[in-house]
Symmetry: D2
Subunit: 212 residues, 4 copies
Amino acid sequence: MTNAYDRAGYSRIPIEFGQRPAVLAVDFQASHIDPRHPFGGRPLALRALENSIDVVKAARANGIPVAVCYTEYHHRDEMPYWSLATVDQDNSDGNLRGSPASVLDPRITDRDYDHVVRKTGPSMFYETTVQMFLTKNQVDTVIVTGVNTSGCIRATVIDSFQRGYRTVVPEDCVGDLEQQEHDDNIRDMRRRYSRISSAAEVIDYLKRCKRS
Amino acid sequence: MTNAYDRAGYSRIPIEFGQRPAVLAVDFQASHIDPRHPFGGRPLALRALENSIDVVKAARANGIPVAVCYTEYHHRDEMPYWSLATVDQDNSDGNLRGSPASVLDPRITDRDYDHVVRKTGPSMFYETTVQMFLTKNQVDTVIVTGVNTSGCIRATVIDSFQRGYRTVVPEDCVGDLEQQEHDDNIRDMRRRYSRISSAAEVIDYLKRCKRS
Amino acid sequence: MTNAYDRAGYSRIPIEFGQRPAVLAVDFQASHIDPRHPFGGRPLALRALENSIDVVKAARANGIPVAVCYTEYHHRDEMPYWSLATVDQDNSDGNLRGSPASVLDPRITDRDYDHVVRKTGPSMFYETTVQMFLTKNQVDTVIVTGVNTSGCIRATVIDSFQRGYRTVVPEDCVGDLEQQEHDDNIRDMRRRYSRISSAAEVIDYLKRCKRS
Amino acid sequence: MTNAYDRAGYSRIPIEFGQRPAVLAVDFQASHIDPRHPFGGRPLALRALENSIDVVKAARANGIPVAVCYTEYHHRDEMPYWSLATVDQDNSDGNLRGSPASVLDPRITDRDYDHVVRKTGPSMFYETTVQMFLTKNQVDTVIVTGVNTSGCIRATVIDSFQRGYRTVVPEDCVGDLEQQEHDDNIRDMRRRYSRISSAAEVIDYLKRCKRS
């Protein structure tokens, strides 16, 4: 409680785990994971992938819903006005349909179990079936994993929060290009929207929420 | 272009102004402006208010749509799971119905001209009539002003961006409790979602877009 | 199964009740209930009100969430392009702010218990906090009551359905100006989106779902 | 003006054409068009297809945006609780991924020009990029064509209306299994939400709105 935010009341109410969680995994696709792409293969992203694999496995083992998304554009009409040049490239680094950069890492997804969605905005909730999937499963607690903390994670957390979910970010399951941006966004999300947690705490919680 | 983000393609495509702008003013209410409240009256918020007053006046003088919002809860059922304690307080610092902390600064709003909405989430778009208002006015460019850069501004900019608007943030029209958080979020938004501009540039642009 | 729709597969899958219901009450306001207004006080609307009062009372007695809405416009900028002239009138029959036509019938609402929202479109879900309220209460089954069957009920049922809720319409809790339009819309909703039920069946169900 | 609705103010305000239209074509897929499917090939659906082909051609010739959708489910988790059995079938009549019943009629779509989206609910706006596409094109007027009048057309018209678009339904460009249900829904939409028009009137209008 030494900064202006915390003195003013930020970060003060702990976000408690609810009774019916789901796990979201955001954009673990080649763009971020494969070092052949411009921002692929950064250490924090790889760490997030490793830990998130453990989390989604624990979810599946306990009957907890898992939703996984990737970003890809079927045509440019679907694309918002990005300042980020990479997504719009026609080459194999872009995220236009069929690009290898949009392919999900196979270790994160079990297509027989997960709800897999394509998204076009930063938020995994934006014009996808994710909320319907959560509704059908009566979810009250959303665990957000993926990349990047300063991009699609921040956007997904805001949407999860404002739609009324208890929102949890296991810090070691989200990653970014650089430590500084990762930390800055964890700081902002902790103050307002979410419980900052860890893979270990979340896995323990998922076991307690086992669904038959 | 000296950081890992810009080398990888972030910040590379300039977001150009479109043809039909609107101005949004987010949460210029006593919570943020009046120093009697826990995070009210911070220098960056007051600077944002002063500059935003000039921007909304220019908008009105040129027939450009203006929408203004404040955050207030009619009852706790409307409230997401905030870690920020202040909003939930029953006293005059909280944002429950009737609290003085939710009153808009009179200098920012012309109720005979502006589209004034109450919001309950961080984003000014979340469950409000703002997008319908923009649609009816065929807006393609959204100028975002208000507070705080690291909270409701960041959330509103993400939503404006992903809904397909050209999104502009005049840096001197948004504010926060502290300079560091303000700068961090301007950095993140510039890389992906928005043109970082100034009151002076925006006012000049609004004059060129005069609607009869 | 004698019509072309049912032969082709419509109406074939029964929509079962889920485990966690909520009751919605749509537009039981003077416009529809009070005979001094142009379409107020019609027999089917009054019948719907009487039966819905029993349903919301049963919901409250059993700890089931209740949300109630009314339609009102704070200014014309919030209004979609209605062909229905009444809503846009400046007089006491219109639905502009402060008009008596927008006042909820006091028998339908317990403001200490219900989630009361103002809406601007036909659907009770459109830009309101209703879905957030349902999310916070982990609702999977939505009981829709109110008026008119051929207007806001149809719109609310479509939204409830497509968002993934089990949707139930107690036929005697929704009403309209005329029997024909009521019946036509019940027919269309039964084929696709909802269980057509009754106040008696719903009240019995709500008792079985008692929340502590 | 001989019915209770019109006497009470319904149907009274003409919905005028705006300045920037777009054309939507809803679900002209084999389920509805090909007589080998349970409700395929009905006369009103075929009539709607023929007339809508003329409308989308006129739109393309004049630089007017066109968006086309079909309904298909990648897995059952995406499916709302349909009472309509057909969509959920595993055979070639169902709308699960890869079924021939979900294939768009090739005459309605120009994939080099149109914005083609997959949808999962009745409304073409529900969790699709349609509104973003309209926003990027500064559309104020939405022409709705497709099938069925009593299903996805009604749902799409409600959403277009409540989002603030001037909504136009060319009566001969929408169709259904039976004339009665078609007429009933045209009646309800005319009273509240939309201009009921014709292919001829719309084509003439699109020519006047030519975009360079």
